[in-house]
Symmetry: C2
Subunit: 518 residues, 2 copies
C-alpha cells in the first residue's frame, strides 16, 4: 500500500469530485492530482532524489495537503515540522533528518529565513504562500506552473514514508520513522472500526477450501463474529442454518442464490429476518437472478465482489448503494463495482497498455492482495505477474466512474465472423426468458465463421421452450450476430466446487479433434 | 498481520463469546483457542516443521475452521483441497505442494486412503470425523486431547500462509501462494467497504504535522472524501468551517473540545447539523468534558482513539456504542477502548511480563502500525522496540473485556509516601468542580514523601474558587493521599502543538536544581 493510493483511487473513480476546500479555494481530485504530479516534478528538478527528506513548516492549508501527497509521489520522505517548536528545536530536527528542502508559508517566513542560514543540510527553501516569495526563494506556485507532471513513483509497503519528530521533553527530539504500510494499516483500521455491528454471525455457504469465502471469513474473525457452518451447501440446509443460528451475513456464489430462489421450500418456509448482508462473488450474476434475489430478501444489503484466488479475494466491490433503483437506472448494477480501497485496477490491451474508458480489454490488478506467485511455477508466475500487475484473464471495460464491467473470461470470448461475442451478454439475454432456469454459451467450430455461438439451456421444472423461441427471444435483446445459432437442451450444467459452470467440459466434445482446445 | 490475529483478538476481548456453531456443537473463542493451540502442538509433534504444507480434504465443519487457524498457528502452510477434484487431480496437488500431512473427514475417507498409498510426499494422515479412525490413522480428537497447547508461532506479513490450487481447466492446476498480508488486506477491505457513507467531508482541526489526524486523513483519502481545511484551530474557525462546508467528520484533541464547549459563540451560533462523527485522541479526556461535548452534539457518534506517533496513530478505539448509557453504566466510557483490528496490546511489568487483568503496567503494542524505528537512533530504537513490541511509556490496566484504561504517562506518575498516584485520576476529580476550566497535576519535591501532589488550576471566566475548596471537593471523590497538597491558580497551561499540556514545563521550576528532572 502507498500513501498516494487514496488520491490515485479518486483520480480514477471520481476525478471531478471536490477534493479540498481552503478559504475560498476549492479544487477537484483532478486538479489536486495535476498539482501533486507537478509539485513532485518540481521537487525532483530541484535535486530531490528517492529517499530524500522534504520538510514543511506551515499552518494547515490545501498546499500542506498537496505536500503530504507530492513528496511520496516523488519518492521523497515527509518531515512535517512541529509548528510550536523553537527555532533551535526545528534546526535540530532538520539537521538530524538531513532534510534538503524546506517548504514554508507566510507565518513561518522569518523562521525559515533563519533556518536557511543555520542548517547546513538545507539546499533549497520553497515559499508556499499567497504573496511574493522572499528574494532568492522559489515560489511553490511558480514551480507547479512551470513543471510537467510526473507519474507516481510507486513507493509502498515498508518504504519509509515520513519522519515524524516527537518528544523533546526529555533530551533531544526523536524522529519516528513510519512506513507507507504503517500509516495505511492505521487508516484502514479507522475505516473498519466504523463498520462494526454487534453480534454478527456469518453463515458459511461456499466450501471452505475456496478463496471466495476466505476474505469474508477473515473479516469476521477480525470482528470477533460467530461462524455458523453447514457441511455442504443445499438451499434448505443454508436456509435452516440462517433461521436457527440467526445468521446476519452470508457469502454465496450466484449458482447458490439461483438454487435458493428456485427452491420452493427453502425460499418460503424459513425465517430470514436476521439476515443483513449477502456478499455474492466468484462468477457473474444475471440481472434476472439478482432481481429475484432482491425481491426475496428486500431488507438485505447486497454486495457483489469480483476477484480471484490470485488476488486473495475481492478486488472490486459493488455496494448496496448501487443495487437500488439508482444503480439500476444508471446501469451500475450490471457492473462488478469499483476497485476496493487497496486494489488498483486498469484495463489493458494485449501490449499491456491501458485502454480508454468503455473499451474492452484485460483486467490487471496491483496491490497488497496480489499473490506471491504460483508455487513452483516460475514461468506461469512470470506470465501472470508483470511488474506487480496481475493479469487476470478476464475481459472487461471500465466506465467514466471507474465501475468495472466484466464481459467474459478472455478465453471464453467467442470470435464469430470477426466479431467478438461475450458469452456473459448472451447468457444474460437467454436467462431473461421465463422458462429458462440456467444457461451457458460457448463457441463451437464453424466452417466459415471460425466459431459459432452455441447455447446450453436448462429449463425450469414443468416448463418447456423451443430453440426457435429462445432465439427469437434473444433477438429482441441483443444484436443478431450474438444470438445463439444452435441450442442444446440439457438437464443440468457441469458445475465446479465453487459453483462456476465448467465451460471446458461443455466445449470438450466439440473441440476434441482440434488443436485450439483451451 | 497474521491469519491468527482475529482469533487472538477475540481470545483477549471476548473469550467466552460463542465462536462457532456446527450441527449441535457450539464452542466459545476460549474453547476454539484451546483446541487450536493443541491442534498446532499435535501437528508439530507429528513432525511438521515451519513452512511445511498441511492439506485438508473435507466438507465444511468446525474442525475445518480450526484447521485454518491451527496450521498458521503452528507456522505451517495451508493447502485446502478442492472437494470436487478427482483423485488424480488431488494427488497432483498434494505432490506438487509436497504436502506432508493430510487431514480428512468421513466423506473423503476412501479417497484419503487411496491418496495415502499413492502420494509419496504424504507422511501422515489424520482422521477428522466423528467415528472411529481407520486402522493406522491418527484421530484428530485424540491428538487434540493428548497435546499441550503451544503459543502462536507468530507468522505474519509476507510469510506464506497457504497454497490454494486453482485452474486445472487448462493443463495442470496451479498452486496460488497467498501471504498472511494478502489475505488480511482483503479481509480489512471487506470490513472497510461496509463503512462507506456517501459524500463525507473531513474538517481538519489538529495541525497537519501531527500524527493524530494522519491516520484519519488517510482513511478519508481512501474513501475519496473531501478535506475541509482551516489554517489553525480556534473554536470559531472550526465551527464556521463545519457549518459552511457541511463537514461530516472531525478529529479533535480534548483541549480543542474543551475550548469549543467553553466558547459561548462557537458552541451556540453555528449549524453543526452535518456533523456525524467526532474522533478525539492524543490525550485523556475528563468525563465531565466528554459529557458536556456529548450534550452539545447529541446526534454525533464519538470515537476515542488512543495511540502515539510511534504507532502511526490509533491502537485502541472506543466506539460510539460505549459512549452511551451502557458505556457509562459499565464504566467503559472511562477507558480508551479495545485494541483495533490490527494492533495487539498487552500490559507488561518492568520485566516485560504480562500482568493480570486489572493490574497497572506499561502498555506494549505489536502490529503492522508499529514504526520502523527512530531515525538515526539505534539505542533509543532498541529501548522502544523489543522483539516487535513497542513499549509506549504509558501506564494502564486492561479489564476482563480487553478495554484499556490509561492511568498516566509512566513518567507522569507521582510516587508520594510510597503510594502511586496517577495524575489523570486527580485531574479528573478536580475537573469535576464547576468553577474549573482546566487543570494539570504533577509531583513536586517533598522532604519526607519524595514527591507531593501539586495542582495547576485555570478557572472558568468569571468564576473563582479557593485552594481549600478544590481540595475539599477532591476529597469527596478520591483517596486523601491522591488529593493535591498544594494548588496554584494560573491563567493558562502550556500547551503543545497537538494540544497536550506540557507537564515538563510545569515541572521545570520545581525540579530545576535536582538531578531527577524528566
Amino acid at each position: 500500500m502507498s500513501l498516494t493510493q487514496g488520491l490515485r483511487r479518486s483520480l480514477q473513480l471520481q476525478p471531478d469530485a471536490l477534493a479540498v476546500s481552503f478559504a475560498d479555494r476549492r479544487r477537484s481530485f483532478r486538479q489536486v492530482g495535476d498539482r501533486v504530479g507537478r509539485f513532485a516534478a518540481a521537487l525532483q528538478s530541484l535535486g530531490m532524489r528517492p529517499g530524500d527528506r522534504v520538510a514543511m513548516l506551515a499552518l494547515n492549508s490545501d498546499r500542506y495537503l498537496e505536500y503530504l501527497m507530492a513528496v511520496p509521489w516523488a519518492a521523497g520522505v515527509l518531515n512535517p515540522c512541529n509548528i510550536r517548536w523553537s527555532p533551535a528545536e526545528l534546526a535540530y530536527s532538520l539537521e538530524d533528518s538531513q532534510s534538503s528542502i524546506l517548504i514554508f508559508d507566510d507565518t513561518f517566513a522569518p523562521v525559515a529565513s533563519a533556518l536557511r542560514t543555520q542548517c547546513k543540510t538545507l539546499r533549497t527553501v520553497i515559499y508556499a504562500g499567497d504573496g511574493q516569495a522572499p528574494a532568492g526563494v522559489d515560489h511553490l506556485e511558480r514551480l507547479i506552473e512551470d513543471a510537467q507532471p510526473v507519474a507516481d513513483a510507486g513507493c509502498a509497503g515498508d518504504d519509509l514514508a515520513g519522519i515524524f519528530y516527537t518528544g523533546g521533553t526529555t533530551g533531544f527530539p526523536k524522529g519516528v520513522m513510519l512506513s507507507h504500510d504503517n500509516l495505511l494499516w492505521c487508516g484502514m483500521t479507522v475505516l473498519a472500526a466504523r463498520a462494526t455491528d454487534k453480534d454478527e454471525i456469518l453463515a458459511y455457504a461456499p466450501p471452505m477450501f475456496h478463496v471466495a469465502g476466505f476474505a469474508a471469513a477473515q473479516a469476521f474473525w477480525l470482528l470477533g463474529a460467530r461462524h455458523a457452518i453447514i457441511p455442504a451447501y443445499s438451499p434448505q440446509a443454508l436456509a435452516a442454518c440462517i433461521a436457527r443460528e440467526r445468521a446476519t451475513d452470508v457469502v454465496m456464489v450466484p449458482t447458490m442464490i439461483q438454487m435458493l430462489v428456485n427452491d420452493p421450500v427453502a425460499s418460503t418456509q424459513y425465517d430470514f429476518s436476521s439476515l443483513r448482508r449477502i456478499i455474492y462473488a466468484a462468477s457473474p450474476i444475471s440481472e434476472t437472478l439478482l432481481e429475484r434475489a432482491m425481491a426475496l430478501f428486500p431488507r438485505v444489503q447486497f454486495f457483489q465482489a469480483y476477484g480471484m484466488t490470485e488476488s486473495a479475494g475481492a478486488v472490486t466491490i459493488l455496494g448496496p448503494e448501487h443495487h437500488g433503483l439508482e444503480g439500476r437506472t444508471r446501469g451500475k448494477i450490471r457492473s462488478a463495482g469499483q476497485a476496493t480501497f487497496v486494489a488498483t485496477i486498469k484495463i489493458i490491451d494485449q501490449d499491456g497498455q491501458e485502454v480508454p474508458r468503455g473499451v474492452v480489454g484485460e483486467i490487471a490488478v496491483k496491490g497488497p492482495v496480489v499473490m506471491l506467485g504460483y508455487w513452483n511455477k516460475p514461468e506461469e508466475t512470470a506470465a501472470a505477474l508483470h511488474d506487480g500487475w496481475l493479469r487476470t484473464g478476464d475481459a472487461a471495460y471500465m466506465d467514466a466512474d471507474g465501475f468495472v464491467y466484466v464481459v467474459d473470461r478472455i478465453k471464453d470470448m467467442i470470435i464469430t465472423g470477426g466479431e467478438n461475442v461475450y458469452s456473459a451478454e448472451v447468457e444474460n439475454a437467454i436467462a431473461r426468458h421465463s422458462a429458462v432456469a440456467q444457461c451457458a454459451v460457448i463457441g463451437i467450430p464453424h466452417e466459415s465463421w471460425g466459431e459459432a455461438v452455441h447455447a446450453f439451456v436448462v429449463c425450469k421444472p414443468g416448463n418447456t421452450v423451443t430453440a426457435d423461441e429462445v432465439t427469437a427471444h434473444t433477438r429482441d435483446l441483443i444484436a443478431h450476430f450474438k444470438c445463439p445459432r444452435t441450442i442444446e437442451f440439457v438437464d443440468a450444467l457441469p458445475i465446479s466446487g465453487a459453483g462456476k459452470v465448467l465451460k471446458h467440459k461443455l466445449r470438450e466434445p466439440y473441440w476434441r479433434d482440434r488443436r485450439a482446445v483451451n
